[in-house]
Symmetry: none
Subunit: 256 residues, 2 copies
Amino acid sequence: MNRDVTIPTTHPRYFSLMTREKIVAGYKNGLVALEGLIAHGRGECFDYLIGERTTDSARMAIDAAAAQILISNYPVISVNGNVAALCPDLLCSLHRSVKKSMLEINLFYYTKERESKIFQELAKYGVSNVLGTNPDNLVRIPELESNRRLVDSNGIFKADTVFVPLEDGDRTLALKKMGKKVITVDLNPLSRTSMEASITIVDNIIRVIPLLIERIKYHEKNSSESDLYTIVKSYDNKKGLKDALFIMNRYKEDQI
Amino acid sequence: MNRDVTIPTTHPRYFSLMTREKIVAGYKNGLVALEGLIAHGRGECFDYLIGERTTDSARMAIDAAAAQILISNYPVISVNGNVAALCPDLLCSLHRSVKKSMLEINLFYYTKERESKIFQELAKYGVSNVLGTNPDNLVRIPELESNRRLVDSNGIFKADTVFVPLEDGDRTLALKKMGKKVITVDLNPLSRTSMEASITIVDNIIRVIPLLIERIKYHEKNSSESDLYTIVKSYDNKKGLKDALFIMNRYKEDQI
């Protein structure tokens, strides 16, 4: 980064400021839309409120997500500009940790150029078999309010579980209506995405994915299919959202 | 503004959307850093939570800020990219309403070009005697964690009161450690800036400055120096932050 001011590693908010730099670099490299910068700012606000840490409740959601991914036949990981800018390495690791999974590029603010930059970014981390970029395979699925989205007929369209971090609410609902299990990562427990998803991880995606991979590996070694179904069935998403709100309120009261 | 989408004045969130347009225009005009767009997004989120209005508690902070400015010998108003984009006119009006005050350009993400654009922006509103741009006058002051900042030896360096809206926490603390009274405007009541400042106005700067000017004018006419000292002494910043949090929590609880 060609900057006059570099952020010292000892700055108390180094992690957050460097994450912000990743989004800025992502915008400069053509991965992130301008709208993505503003969306990131909103995420920073909620991350502040939750204490910039993974709560116990988020850990339960991550555990349920790991179980859901393992019991599904065809899980697809949706990649947008912000996640590609924040953690392309982690997305590729997650994909590698689940052999039956696929990555699919799926953009709210679509341009061919952004799609291609994201494709190149994932290729840097060794994954070039990425769905969503071949126009011949794209099919339209119904979204709310007559808006429509394109998904890959070999990817999200036929997936039984879709991991869609930092997703739009209409899109999440559209996937749910198609009968899919939807796992999302969203720092705003009040967003429509958070409320509509099957499993909402209220946390920062950079903190989430390493933990998710860890839980996937753990369950592969230690849990039976029946155990995994039990975890998924007993998971209560509304409770997770309420916990997140409660923590946001309590955390704040403790600070001052 | 040359935009494909214009915002109707009847839109319920017209004020917020137009404010966002000012930041976007500021970025395009070279006043605002990309990081500033993200910071604005975070601010929008907190503004939403507080109800996009000036609370009674913020009014008390504004009143204390007006008193503090009036009792100080040399108040300096720090200008960064975001405030220059949001309200250059209001900053110049504030400066004019306090004869002994000065404006100083002070950037976290410094570039010569941005500094110069901000200087030109202030000049448009009739203020060209702005500090912080002459390299011969810049002195380093200690910041936390070995990071250092430059301030004008004729400005912030010798000011007794510094008005630093939308400031970084380390910088706020550095100013406090130099014995200065620090007044800030910050929508995040949990930020280190908010917690470190002498007087924190938890509100949107666009709403704040007109009210601040109004209170300055009021006190000039109606209050003795002794009255002003009493206002400042009886002001409790921690209470102001707690009030802001309480209001934000109540707002969220109403949503679900």
